[in-house]
């Protein structure tokens, strides 16, 4: 056995590209394990765990690209490393604008006639700089990247507001602009419901359910998770709300968020009160007192239901698969008591934690509702546990579970072997950016989990909600059928799935408690809605995108027929922090 590595100094490739290289190289003959990662400390730690450490790997820095293999022989290692380099050197194709791949946002904006939005998904430490370049080039920004410092977020949002530009994010996973799905987003019918969301999978859940309920989406604008915190003060949410208020296609507005800062919520509701359109405020875990055209919603499902009613005058009819909690519970062995939720969507996980508490009491999590329920390690469950497998601890150096189901599959099987587990609760998120066929990956694991439990004398219900539409690239109905075939109990909404899991556990002896909702103060008296003609014209469309970062986003936009130019992005100044600081100073 040999471990061999190649270091490419100051090279950069996006994480998806690297993951694909890693996967392909790992499958080569004679290769036991392979790594293709940037040389961050976290990644080197992972390589060490995988037995892929060499002296060169140890010496690599965060801007160095590491290719490393463990192989049966020198020849196999050499061949694998050669293949890895060839895969990386494979030219990326420009989605539009001919052969030339622009290197900067400014040059891309010039190449793509009508460019009006930059989709930025570069590593967090570079993201603010790229977003600023985009604003300087007069582009609206969807900042997918996370790990952007709070002060950078605030100054970017102030700069955007001063120019009447929309800055969605940072950590904005999802947006839909006039039918174009950006980042992780579902393909939905165009319609009258506009969404402003501080939560990625929250937007996906509401948008999908609105679509499945027979209505459609005008636009879904993401704000990023911190926008409604006090520090940021809802700068993006306010601009987005104002734009939807003025948008002629939008007849109903849905606000989606975890509980906002009370003052920010009050301001936002004060603005919403002035919107001459009905507004549904779904601040998960918070109670919004309905008033005038503003209504509250406790769950994402409820927000979607009210929105569909308002938009169509009809009650939505979502797919329904009958499941009887008492009957499931009756088949459990006496040892089986606990729920184990394994989530890929952060907001869906949060909603599940809120709902489950009513049936089973406090739930342990890596993202708990109360700090005293924080798991020591996200990798080990105790009692009732729901984990967000999209949290940093699971995604450093790895793809998000919506893209790469490997970790979740391992965890499903581990939980199935635990005699105390009464029910598994999962989400499956479809749409652009997600795995091309998640059900096919998960189905064998679900089947195996149930069989292993049965062999041990237990009955294991697996409750799954599927977030998506029949127009998504993965096809909703096929996904559902595959999961049902594997023995999963599929539910149309995350709320239904969480309730079902909760009822099963309750029937098996758990007892819930009512959590008093966070009180949102009454709407504040605020000035008039800001006028934002430039953001309005972005909504008037069509959107033309400059993509910087993950190439798959450019591809999915091209697939949708959205004009897009993919920037051949490299870290500024070769990633040299000192030079970057000097350059930033000289640009000030």
């Amino acid at each position: 056995m040999v471990v061999r590595s190649v270091i490419k100094p100051s090279a950069y490739a996006d994480s998806v590209a690297l993951m694909l290289v890693q996967r392909e190289v790992r499958a080569l003959p004679g290769v036991q394990e392979a790594g293709a990662v940037m040389g961050t400390e976290a990644n080197k730690e992972l390589l060490k765990d995988a037995g892929l450490l060499t002296p060169e790997v140890e010496a690599a820095g965060p801007n160095d690209l590491i290719l490393v293999v463990r192989a049966d022989s020198e020849q196999a290692a050499a061949a694998a490393l050669e293949r890895a380099q060839a895969l990386l050197a494979r030219p990326r194709e420009a989605a539009a604008g001919g052969d030339y791949r622009p290197r900067t946002v400014a040059s891309a904006a010039r190449m793509l006639e009508g460019a009006n939005l930059a989709l930025v998904s570069v590593p967090g430490r570079f993201a603010a700089g790229v977003a600023r370049e985009a604003l300087d080039a007069g582009l609206h920004v969807m900042l997918f990247s996370d790990n952007v410092p709070l002060d950078a977020e605030i100054s970017l949002k102030q700069a955007a507001a001063a120019r009447d530009l929309l800055l969605m994010g940072p950590d904005c996973g999802t947006a839909i602009l006039g039918g174009a799905a950006l980042g992780f987003a579902n393909r939905v019918r165009r319609g009258a419901v506009g969404i402003v969301g501080a939560a990625g999978t929250g937007i996906q859940q509401v948008a999908s359910l609105v679509h499945l309920g027979g209505a459609g989406i005008s636009h879904a604008l993401g704000t990023g998770g911190r926008d409604l915190h006090r520090g940021v003060g809802g700068l993006t949410a306010r601009a987005a709300l104002a734009a939807l208020a003025a948008d002629p296609r939008t007849e109903v507005i849905v606000l989606v968020s975890k509980p906002p800062d009370p003052q920010v919520a009050s301001t936002l509701l004060g603005l919403a009160r002035q919107v001459p359109k009905p507004t549904v405020a779904a601040f998960l875990g918070a109670a919004v007192t309905g008033e005038g055209r503003v209504r509250g919603a406790a769950t994402l499902e409820e927000a979607a239901r009210v929105a569909v009613q308002l938009a169509t005058g009809r009650e939505p009819r979502w797919p329904h698969w009958e499941a009887l909690p008492a009957q499931e519970a009756a088949r459990l062995a006496p040892s089986q008591k606990f729920i184990r939720g394994l989530y890929s969507g952060g907001t869906l996980c949060y909603e599940a934690l809120l709902l489950l508490e009513r049936y089973v009491g406090p739930v342990w999590s890596n993202t708990p509702l109360d700090p005293d329920r924080a798991l020591e390690s996200g990798t080990r469950s105790r009692e009732h546990t729901v984990v967000d497998m999209g949290a940093d601890e699971f995604t450093v150096g790895r793809l998000h579970p919506m893209l790469d189901p490997t970790l979740r599959i391992q965890r499903i099987l581990r939980e199935a072997d635990d005699p105390e587990v009464a029910v598994l609760l999962l989400d499956v998120v479809l749409g652009y950016g997600a795995h091309p066929d998640p059900a096919r990956e998960l189905a064998p694991a679900i089947r195996q989990a149930r069989e292993r439990a049965r062999a041990a004398g237990r009955w294991l219900p697996v409750v799954v909600s599927v977030c998506g539409t029949e127009e998504d690239p993965q096809d909703y109905h096929t996904q559902v059928a595959t999961l049902v075939d594997a023995g999963a109990i599929v539910q149309a909404t995350n709320a239904q799935a969480a309730r079902l899991a909760g009822l099963i556990a309750e029937a098996a002896g758990s007892r819930g408690r009512e959590r008093p909702p966070v009180q949102v103060p009454p709407p504040a008296e605020v000035g008039p809605l800001p006028d934002a003609p430039r953001i309005r014209s972005l909504l008037d469309g069509p959107v033309h995108v400059v993509n910087v970062g993950l190439e798959m986003f450019a591809r999915s936009l091209a697939d949708q027929g959205v004009p897009v130019v993919d920037v051949d992005w490299q870290p500024p100044a070769g990633g040299d922090r000192r030079l970057m600081d000097i350059l930033d100073k000289l640009n000030a």
Binding site: R103, T104, S107, P572, M580, L583, L586
Partner: protein, 412 residues
């Protein structure tokens, strides 16, 4: 105090507003400021004899023989080693020279005047191909060629230019870019235009045999116009030099050992790093191993926004690097990423008459990691062998990072 961007706009506007006119020819000693008999001007940043590469040493020896300061190679070297010869970059004396760039007092030089800004620049007459001083050759045929340039071609061209009332170099360069030249490695069209414009005036400027010889010299030398083009670029960029707070590059030059740049807002300082060896195609019998590190002031063309920056205009020369016409277009598109303006006078037909990328910003180079592209001839590392190929080269990044650091230090 204005911003850096404001300063750069001023600098680049001066480049765009420049009007370089080829006014005449005169002995270097008569027109180049500070020129004297024992002074040898050379290409690139300052360098000592000890560090000079083969071709530059050869050219120095040839120049001393040509000036009659030494009778043979041994004497020439001894003279230098006794410290009796002074060296200075052409750029310190408003001059530019291709390859070794060696210029001495009795050599005839073109005079280019950038009239709106009052800058003047000088360059020697192109010697043609084969064994030539600029590649470090100094055999008798090289020296006799230099004498003919001094005694016949220089005066004749000077009289013709006088009769013509000067020659608008900017118009000539704009035209050659629409005819498949990029103005650095490829000057076929420009040299033909040069000859055509001068012909009626040459015909009246001397004895018919001399006229015929000069016409033949122009007809046989596709690089004839390179030297006046370089001087035109130099006179243009000198007008943009010395703008406080400007980060625009006003000079890129190589001496065969080092690559150096100067920046508009950073005074007379050079930012220097070891020159790279160009990569390209070699004449039969030569390989990459024989190549000297990058040499010559001709990078003044790229600095002014032509040459490698106008590659899209000259698809024929991509064969030097085994490329395709599409790559030529990409090369120019890439240079827009590091420049602050486009020169509408130099419109590239292949890019829908978009102006050439103009005004290299050191900040953009360091930020993007994109180095300027330079098209260049390749010299043999041994003196006297001459040109062995042509290809592409880029400056070392260290020149630009040093300049950015110096700039930041000055801003504090």
């Amino acid at each position: 105090m204005g911003t850096i961007d404001d300063a750069n706009r001023v600098a680049v506007q001066r480049i765009l507003d420049s009007q370089p006119v080829l006014a005449g020819v005169a002995p270097a000693g008569e027109v180049i400021p500070g020129m004297r008999r024992n002074l040898i001007l050379h290409a690139g940043p300052p360098i000592t004899w000890e560090r000079m590469s083969g071709p530059l040493r050869g050219a120095v020896i040839g120049a001393l023989l040509f000036e009659g300061l030494a009778a043979d190679e041994r004497q020439a070297v001894a003279l230098v080693e006794r410290g009796e010869v002074d060296f200075a970059p052409c750029h310190h004396h408003q001059a530019v020279g291709p390859m070794a760039g060696v210029t001495t007092a009795s050599m005839p030089v073109y005079i280019v005047e950038n009239r709106p800004f009052g800058t003047r620049a000088f360059s020697t007459l192109n010697e043609g191909y084969g064994k030539v001083l600029r590649y470090g050759a100094y055999s008798e045929d090289v020296l006799s060629r230099l004498r003919w340039l001094r005694d016949v071609a220089g005066p004749l061209l000077g009289r013709a230019l006088e009769r013509a009332g000067g020659l608008d170099m900017k118009a000539l360069m704009a035209r050659q870019l629409t005819m498949g030249d990029e103005g650095h490695n490829r000057n076929v069209a420009g040299s033909a235009l040069f000859a055509r414009l001068l012909a009626p005036h040459l015909a009246r400027s001397g004895p018919v045999d001399d006229v015929a010889a000069v016409m033949t010299y122009l007809a046989e030398n596709d690089l004839a116009v390179l030297n006046p083009v370089m001087a035109a670029c130099k006179a243009t960029l000198d007008a943009a030099h010395g703008i406080p707070r400007s980060t625009v590059v006003t000079c890129m030059a190589r001496n065969g050992t080092d690559f150096g740049i100067r920046v508009s807002g950073l005074g007379d300082a050079w930012f220097v790093a070891p020159a790279e060896v160009p990569v390209g195609l070699f004449f039969p019998g030569y390989t990459q191993e024989d190549a000297n590190p990058d040499i010559g002031d001709s990078t003044i063309t790229e600095t002014a926004g032509i040459g490698g920056f106008a590659m899209a205009a000259a698809p024929a020369i991509v064969k030097f690097v085994g490329g395709t016409p599409a790559m030529a277009v990409q090369a120019t598109l890439e240079m827009y990423e590091i420049t602050v303006a486009e020169n509408p006078t130099f419109a590239i037909p292949q890019l829908d008459f978009r102006g050439t990328p103009t005004g290299i910003d050191i900040r953009k180079v360091v930020r993007t990691g994109i180095l300027p592209r330079v098209n260049t001839g390749i010299a043999h590392r041994r003196p006297g062998v001459g040109q062995i190929g042509a290809g592409l080269v880029r400056p070392p990044m260290a020149c630009f990072t040093q300049a950015v650091e110096a700039f930041a230090a000055g801003v504090e």
